[in-house]
Amino acid sequence: MTLLEVEQLHAGYGRTPALFGVELSVAAGEIVALLGRNGVGKTTTLRSIMGLTTRSSGRVAFDGRSIERLPTHVIARLGVAFVPEDRGVFPGLSVGDNLRLGRMAGRRTAADQSYVMDRFPVLAERLDQDANALSGGERQMLALGRALLAGPRLLLLDEFSEGLQPNLVKELAAGLEEIAASGVGILLVEQNALLALRISARCYVMEKGRVVDEGASSAFLVDELRLREHLVI
């Protein structure tokens, strides 16, 4: 079942266009990677799905419903969770309050907090601390945990491995596969292209605000020419 469908999306920031007809889809239970060099429009694509850019034309459908004109909080309530690259953690609020906000912003069927605590035990130790006191990697865990607590049906992840210790990256990669297996669609932007290709079923490659290649991730992994051409590996 197709969960997310993006058709001919043109978007940007103010009067500066950044996307020129992006097309992609994500099915329920599928991990899809969005790859490409820095500055080609990957983050803008995620932000546009969430309603955080100026969208000039095109369609974004979630579960068959057009969402391209909906405000961000309504998109979140429908079951789309976004973990931005800057993590969007609220300083001045405790770790626990940041997590509670995730539950409030999400669907009524939001996940149990113990699910997140099991995955990120360090957060359990720091529930009462100001989120501002967390290290960069811990903020990453908090942002991911908050997104999971929203009980998303679609998870948009921008650079989930950035700043995380190596063993945690591996655990999280396995965790994402588990989350997808429960029916959640995942669209991930990731500079570590090999990692993204290993855990995703399909991938899209962007250049200059457009999707220029797509296919099964397994096919990309064995096609060195394609990897070099698009992904600078």
Partner: protein, 236 residues
Amino acid sequence: MAEPPVVLQTTRLTRRFGGLRAVDSVDLRIREGRIHCIIGPNGAGKSTLFNLISGVLPPTAGRVTFGEQDITRKSPQAIARLGLARSFQTPRVFASMPVLDHVLLASREHPHEGTLARAALARVGLHEREQVLAENLAHGEKKRLEMAMAMAMRPRLVLLDEPTAGMNAHETDAVATIVREIAAAATVAIIEHDIDFVRGLADDVTVLHKGGVMREGTIAEIEGDDDVRRVYLGDV
């Protein structure tokens, strides 16, 4: 062969946040001319250690010595003037200021500041972007701009906090080249999670865990350590 002299030393350096000992009695020696990598789990205290060394945070206890000088509790500006430059995990640039002006600021006490600034931009590959406002730079470019600023200060010691975070393989290679250039004229300490990057550059490695020093050694020694593999590396 004799070890190079110590350029920076911390002695029982400690920083508490409430009940949390973020940095716990750390003794660290960084030797002149080396590339010293600091690795460890998220929350181990790595960035806090850099903040204590560079004066961004005052320590709760302990001492920092840079060259012959005690720099504990000196301001970041005073420490920078002594020859210690740093970059941050999240690049700190002025959004509405052009690229070149950032580097001119960093080199302003040099008689040939313009030449020095442009040379630093060329070395990080930003020479064709000198009039671009910093807010319009991609993430990786902002990180390279911080490195150009550090170079333009002509420092004795450079601290780089996760210079490759968010970068693709090609950009990571470029950063490794830049680090080698910086290291030709200065001592470099780097916080980094990319073990391939560390393996290619590090002369010395310190592993921090729960605020304290867990291990010190070469990258081969560190990668062969079962405890480090358990808490940090996994099966790499």
